[in-house]
Homo-oligomer: 654 residues x 2
């Protein structure tokens, strides 16, 4: 019981307000462009977007108008994700007009709720008698989960209970349908999401039933007889989406084994990381050691064997799924934006269990590379798939690469990724710090103001950061009263030597490192200043020899940013270029590059195409020329027209 | 008219009997194992093979028994391909028991033929009213084409007319249904095959109607209004195989443009090369210059931009198709065995139009590498897909590589490739020589005896060859009477210097080279001897800089054989290995390797995995060690258990 209360405090007592040059711009982009654009899209008024019909479905379900359900079976979740992002946005900036829009949408959602608390427009409109008959494919609990997250977010921002009450009624209804008791369904959703949402609802309300229901869904998954398999068989093995008889792949749903027995990340990557997130949540709250161990194993499997250097996960678009250890092809990749966001959720929950910089390293990696790279500078175009190597002609002319795009796309019919980016960026303040005991752990270096309680007193901490372009960070510590507590600073895995000073006095960073954090424990007084300085040098990264796709290759990283080459800077084909083994890497800020960014120049070699004899194959090798190679941050790729891009480059010598 | 007669003479006056250590073994394997095994398979008696039901379908169609059609809609073609191979086999070796089996099958085929000449068990049994309603997918003319080829082969071997008569009746029926005349269908088959078969039938019979029908099919293809599109629309756009509504991709069928306007090889690779073969046939016979130009353009596109170094074609398994120029991925490849066989057909027909060693070079490349490599040493296991890089775990665990196998498979339900290999190898004698005017062109160095007419007299030529292991060839020329004619010897593209002697006297090979052949024109007397000696040194080959998949890589070739590395010889992962830029290549015959083969040893470098720090990504590069690398002929890969294989290896230095 002690655990539970402690864990809740961690979350409830913090307020963090982001004040950051780099991230502030993106957050404002979400507030000013993405959220309004999504609102228009949900109402089928967005230019260039496929019709969503999501609001219309609610209007029909609410009886406000007549018509047919249209869209994906999980279309409701787009409304929920928007509301969740609106909640976070209102927490940052009050906006009466946005709040009015949200209140109207919430009124509509309330009207669409059924007498017994059930809420889902697809089954209300299209298949009224078929509730809970196809948990594999139909996302009922998934949609509920997103509305629960929205309800928590919106309540925390506005104090308004309406959506929270709607969702508590829905959860009460779900609780009456699912559970271990006789007469209830021993089932769970094909797409995990409600599990982590119920934990959020429990954290907010303290209602134990919600925690138990989440545990039930997690514990039931993969048990025999297999619930998903039974429903599949009952449905004649017909896949809802294809309409065809198919074999069921339980790994796709992470339902092949009870969760505690799962050792390797498999199946649909988003489902997987949403589930691991809930498992970590439950392990943190209940102290369940076997669940924590499973999380640790799965975390290690992903991050040591199945993660792209950009923080992308999911090596194949077939099933948008994990494949197997060290299988990380760069050009036929999936690495869905939503999956990296889920990995960030998972990392955040692991950090709540125990402070370990490994989790924050991955969080930072996924955030600054895969996730940030998914969004165009206009906030209206997105990558769903985030490749590490692109040849545009292959994307259009080789059907095995049709899913990879060389330019960000407009809002899709299945618009999962953009709203996920919106809700992550507007809630980014939740990822900077964690507290364990009376130590504050700094996970991300993002300019912000923290107000919390440490060492028995209220503390305000002003973080100023020059990330990702420079490694200079300062933190002003302002305890209300002088107090002893710990401040832990993450030493990033990429750091080549971080200098840390307190009130001007250098600390010995070699000592006092605990799990990747430099822990400073002392009496803090108002006005104390921590200064962090990392030279943030561009450096080379190599991949594990088992990672065949990157063998004999190298990439460039500087600070949290992974770099790539683009043909617009280096000519085509990029495959002609290698980096000189002993060459210099020179970083410089380029104001003209997409609003300004640090570019890295490297000594490279280029195959002299002009002197190629002309045939497809030849005994004569084309000679190499020395060239300067220009690398740009991965997250900026594809913003200057369609061209080739490569993260991993061969290394060679002349 | 003159052209026609000349062209026919070329084919009819030659008899070539193969007497070759290397190929003789494979041909006997086909005769002793493959043909009998296939006979059992067709009768559903083959162990380990999926039931074929092909003979049973004919028995049902013939009224000998009742039952349902089973198998692919083109199942009949398996019977035809077997009969064709039997014909070639009987031409090599009389075998009364085999001939009896074939006669019985032919009797059965005759009984299954309908009153009006129509022959196809699927439509006879399963959809009697639906003849010619789905040319896109249902392969009626394709099956007829294979039976025509069988009829020609069997007649030429045995002089028996029965199957020939059956097929002439079928063709007469087809001729009554299809044609430019009003009331006939202006259509053609979705899968080209009958076009080249009709040319064979014409060559044998001299019946102009068959030539005209072939020309009609070729000329009609891709014309507007598009026949395939109209049938597709009439069928409600339903794909016969998937049962789903789909968009029609006319490129898949090479029906997107009239054939003379096609400039780039597109779509299903087997269909494409079967069509180009017929186009070249027609161009050779009719002297149609626009058709020849189209053939030349398509040939150049394939061989200069879309062909693997193994002679494989078709870069994607989706549609088993060509993709686009320089897109030749090694591990997600298709490179179907049948497609390379079709490319050999195409090359042979181009050689008949004009002597140019480029065609023969490609023929040799596809034969000794892709095609030969497809068959296991037991003759019962085959690759349908012929990759240039394999990681067995990816084949099983990454769904995008499920189509690639690391070991040869048993006879499939869709057993297209094994019978195609059988018919090619038993008719290999047709690919060694071509005659133009009174010059004999030697395209392949395969031990054999040729009897033909040159310079007005009968000539016998005994070729002895040590290929592919040594470059020594001798040819004894025995004209019945002293006569002047030309003998042209192909200088292979891989040759580093061929020494040629006539009766012991060295010729100046630098002069007298015409289109890649050394032409020896002189008075020939009985007993004259040509000796050819090529050092056949192992050498490195590089790919065009635009071929991104092979950039910064190298492969090894020796004589006609492309080499590869296998993990059984070099350890895993093969991606850790590079070849030293300046290293030696040493070739030596290894008696113990799969019946004996020349292996190549190279100086290589290997990433020292032991000293890798352990993470997925690291700033530390693992050091390189010098190692000896062992390369084996590509055609032998995968015969020693499942393991990694790679044709293209990075080149590096220490």
């Amino acid at each position: 019981m002690n655990k539970i209360i402690q864990d809740q405090e961690v979350v409830k007592d913090q307020t963090v307000t982001i004040q950051d040059d780099f991230w502030g711009g993106y957050i404002r982009l979400v507030q000013n462009v993405v959220i309004p654009y999504q609102y228009e899209a949900l109402h089928d008024r967005a230019l260039g977007a496929e019709p969503s019909h999501a609001i219309a479905n609610f209007e029909i379900a609410a009886g406000r108008k007549t018509g047919e359900f249209y869209g994906w079976v999980f279309q409701d979740s787009d409304v929920a994700k928007w509301l969740e992002a609106v909640g976070y946005s209102l927490s940052i900036t009050r906006d009466p007009e946005l709040e009015r829009q949200a209140d109207e949408v919430i009124d509509l959602v309330g009207e669409a709720q059924q007498e017994d608390g059930y809420l889902n427009t697809y089954f209300t409109i299209k298949e009224p008698g078929k509730r809970w008959t196809n948990l594999n494919d139909c996302h009922e609990l998934y949609c509920a989960g997103h509305f629960i997250e929205a309800a928590v977010s919106y309540y925390e921002a506005t104090g308004k209970r309406k959506l929270l009450d709607i969702m508590c009624r829905m959860v009460d209804h779900i609780d009456s349908v699912f559970g271990p008791e006789e007469g209830k369904m021993q089932g769970y959703d094909g797409h995990q999401e409600i599990e982590l949402a119920l934990v959020k609802l429990y954290r907010l309300t303290g209602e134990e039933r919600y925690l138990k229901l989440s545990s039930f869904f997690i514990n039931e998954r993969g048990q025999q007889p297999n619930f998903l398999k039974e429903q599949w068989d009952n449905l004649g093995k017909i896949n809802f989406f294809t309409g065809r008889k198919e074999d069921l792949d339980l790994k796709y749903y992470q339902s092949h084994l009870p969760v505690r027995e799962q050792k390797v990340a498999v199946g649909h990557a988003v489902r997987a990381v949403y589930m691991y997130t809930a498992m970590a949540d439950l392990a943190a709250i209940t102290g369940d050691e076997s669940l924590r161990e499973a999380c640790e194993r799965l975390w290690n499997n992903i991050t040591n064997k199945q993660m792209y250097i950009t923080g992308g996960i999911g090596s194949t678009h077939r099933g948008e799924a994990f494949t197997f250890d060290y299988d990380l092809p760069n050009d036929s990749v999936y690495a869905e934006t939503c999956a990296s966001i889920g990995l960030i959720f998972f990392a955040q929950r692991m950090l709540r269990i125990s402070p370990d910089a490994r989790y924050a390293d991955v969080m930072e990696r996924a955030l600054y590379n895969n996730v940030l790279g998914s969004m165009a500078q206009d906030g209206k175009h997105y990558f769903y798939v985030n490749p590490l190597e692109v040849w545009p002609q292959a994307c259009s002319c080789n059907p095995e690469k049709h899913h990879v795009k060389s330019e960000r796309q407009g809002w899709f019919g299945c618009a999962c990724c953009p709203p996920n980016v919106a809700r992550l960026l507007t809630s980014l303040n939740q990822y900077i710090y964690t507290v364990h005991g009376d130590t504050l752990y700094t996970n991300l270096y993002i300019g912000s103001e923290l107000r919390t309680k440490l060492g028995g007193t209220d503390v305000a901490i002003q973080q100023q950061s020059t990330y990702p372009w420079k490694g200079i960070v300062s933190m002003k510590i302002n305890p209300k009263e002088e107090a002893e507590f710990g401040i832990a600073l993450r030493i990033p895995s990429w750091s080549l030597g971080m200098e840390i000073r307190v009130n001007g006095e250098a600390l010995n960073t070699a000592e006092n490192i605990e799990q990747g954090y430099l822990v400073i424990r002392r009496m803090w007084r108002a006005g104390d200043i921590i200064e962090v300085n990392d030279p943030m040098e561009a450096h080379r990264i190599y991949a594990h020899p088992n990672l065949r796709a990157d063998a004999q290759k190298v990439t460039i990283q500087r600070g949290p940013l992974v770099y790539c080459l683009e043909s617009i800077d280096n000519g085509e084909p990029l495959s002609s270029i290698s980096l000189k083994e002993d060459g210099e890497l020179t970083a410089a800020f380029d104001e003209t590059l997409l609003g300004g960014a640090v570019v890295v120049e490297a000594d490279g070699l280029r195959v002299d195409q002009e002197s190629w004899s002309g045939g497809l194959y030849s005994r004569e090798k084309a000679p190499l020329q020395s060239v300067k190679v220009k690398a740009v941050p991965y997250y900026l790729w594809g913003n200057r027209g369609s061209g080739e891009m490569k993260v991993w480059i061969p290394e060679g010598s002349m």
